[in-house]
């Protein structure tokens, strides 16, 4: 099967502090990867290097064969439209309605003038409504985002990522701001959607149990170095101790 995302020897950081020290992995079209590791291991940086919210220092990020690190800013913008992102703190625009928040996922396809006048196409609005229905928020379309609960807000975030028609989903600690029950619901929803729309997922998650329950493969990161790469059932106590060695000390 052809890889969707190939990361090769990815490096990031500043001169005095390296955050990623050459990380490599390959993500297939049906994969749901979990990146685990202690705080400060570089999980967030790794995910943000893929869509270049953080500028890497070296290596390759091949997305469907295109090296993203070689692209100019406008070219990168075109590629970002194909990569959906879900955030830890949801990153909604609090004062906008749920509908308008989801529609911001179409901004990559909407001209500046049209977007200022909020003139999204009818297809976009229909698709937004369909997705909001899919994530269970059909009754909250007109509410302001700040009126929703944490779980509901993350569902808006998921709908916003999906309306891009992404070919890859980057998910950054989707459950850190949620309670355990809602966390499971949100992870279930992300997994269902990934299967339904055939979108591979690269997901940062610090909760090892959640990682093992929902993901097809686990990457263990420690201090910018890949320490583990395998199926969840291969992640035994020794492997965990290796990844989290720093915290035990």
């Amino acid at each position: 099967m052809k890889a969707v995302l190939e990361v090769k020897d990815l490096r990031a950081g500043y001169a005095e502090r390296e955050i990623l020290k050459g990380v490599s992995f390959t993500l297939g079209p049906d994969d749901f990867f979990a990146i685990i590791g202690p705080s400060g291991a570089g999980k967030s940086t790794l995910i943000r290097c893929v869509n270049r919210l953080v500028e890497p220092k070296g290596g390759q990020v091949l997305f469907n064969g295109v090296d993203l690190l070689k692209l100019s800013y406008p070219e990168m913008r075109m590629q970002r439209r194909n990569i959906g992102m879900i955030f830890q703190e949801f990153n909604l625009i609090e004062r906008l309605s749920v509908m308008d928040n989801v529609l911001t996922g179409r901004l990559g396809y909407t001209g500046t003038l049209r977007s200022i006048l909020r003139m999204y196409t009818k297809d976009d609005i229909a698709q937004a409504l369909r997705l909001l229905d899919r994530v269970g928020l059909a009754e909250h379309v007109d509410k302001r985002a700040d009126r929703l609960s944490g779980g509901q807000r993350q569902r808006v975030g998921i709908a916003r990522a999906l309306i891009q028609n992404p070919k890859l989903l980057l998910v950054d600690e989707p459950t850190s701001s949620l309670d355990p029950k809602i966390s499971r619901e949100v992870m279930t929803l992300i997994r269902e959607i990934a299967r339904e729309f055939h979108i591979p997922v690269l997901c940062n998650i610090h909760d090892v149990d959640l990682a093992c329950d929902f993901c097809t493969r686990v990457i263990g990161l420690q201090d910018g170095v890949k320490k583990f790469d395998g199926r969840p059932d291969e992640l035994d106590k020794a492997a965990l101790q290796d990844i989290y060695a720093m915290e035990v000390l």
Binding site: K122, I125, A126, L129, R130
Partner: protein, 272 residues
């Protein structure tokens, strides 16, 4: 949701979005017409256009450009120095007076509930609603001609801005550190000192520098009402219709303002 309901709801959403959009366009159109009308009435109709010609403009400009070097004297240096000193003093005095006003006018720490809050807010509004020149007139009649009147006028005028921004910074502080000090058994003063003060210091210092910068501008005109500084010289040259002299004083004012701008830039960088 089936296809029919979906289509229906999309129609509804589309219609309401279009309505909002039309309302927005309408609002902007009304604003635009109002602005155009104001320009017509206040500027176009009210100006004696026959007086203004290229020749008359050039003539006035020429009179200003012929600088009067005799104005550059010890008086000018002294007045410039006085202006800066006045601004600095006024900022410090204004700051000291702002602290209690901010304490009264910050809703979350005001000592006697709504009544003291109202007093604080009233003092802020009073300070801001009177122009510095008017404060200058008041203090000149109270303490006589000279720089003291100017310093007091600017200090009182500064209270409005400084205390308002401090009070708002106090209202916006993160309540979590307060909770921690309270949980440790801290007194009200300890809460203020350890939890609130560190959070507002950057706003406090930044706005103080900004106010100093504004006070330099203000102190250049305080002399118009006899309250010291460069303004007195300006007023004298204006009374004599000595355009070249006016230009020299204005250049001195400009130099001071640039000095204030540069100094506050470095002060801000050093402190924040």
């Amino acid at each position: 949701m089936n296809a029919a309901t979906l289509a229906l709801r999309v129609e509804g959403i589309e219609a309401s979005r279009q309505k909002t959009r039309r309302l927005k366009f309408l609002t902007w159109a009304v604003v635009l017409v109002a602005v155009a009308w104001s320009i017509q009435v206040i500027v176009v109709r009210d100006t004696d256009w026959s007086r203004i010609s290229l020749a008359s403009l050039l003539d006035i400009a020429k009179r200003f450009v012929e600088l009067d070097a005799s104005v550059v004297s010890e008086d000018l240096w002294k007045a410039s120095l006085e202006t800066v000193v006045m601004a600095t003093l006024a900022t410090v005095v204004g700051l000291l007076m702002s602290i209690p006003v901010a304490w009264l006018g910050a809703a979350n720490i005001t000592p006697f509930g709504k009544s003291s809050y109202a007093v604080g807010r009233f003092l802020m509004t009073m300070s801001r609603s009177v122009h510095e020149i008017v404060w200058g007139l008041i203090f000149v009649s109270a303490v006589g001609l000279g720089a003291l009147a100017g310093v007091l006028a600017m200090a009182v005028r500064s209270i409005g801005f400084i205390s308002k921004t401090i009070a708002e910074a106090i209202e916006d502080v993160d309540p979590k550190p307060l909770e921690a000090i309270r949980a440790a058994g801290g007194t009200k003063f300890q809460i203020l000192w350890f939890a609130i003060l560190p959070q507002i210091i950057p706003v406090f210092v930044g706005n103080m520098i900004f106010e100093w910068d504004i006070n330099i501008r203000r102190s250049t005109i305080m002399g118009l009402v006899g309250a010291g500084g460069l303004g007195l010289l300006l007023f004298r040259q204006m009374a004599m219709s000595n355009y070249g002299g006016i230009a020299v004083v204005i250049l001195a004012v400009l130099a001071l303002i640039i000095f204030g701008e540069v100094a506050s830039h470095y002060a801000r960088r050093a402190v924040i």
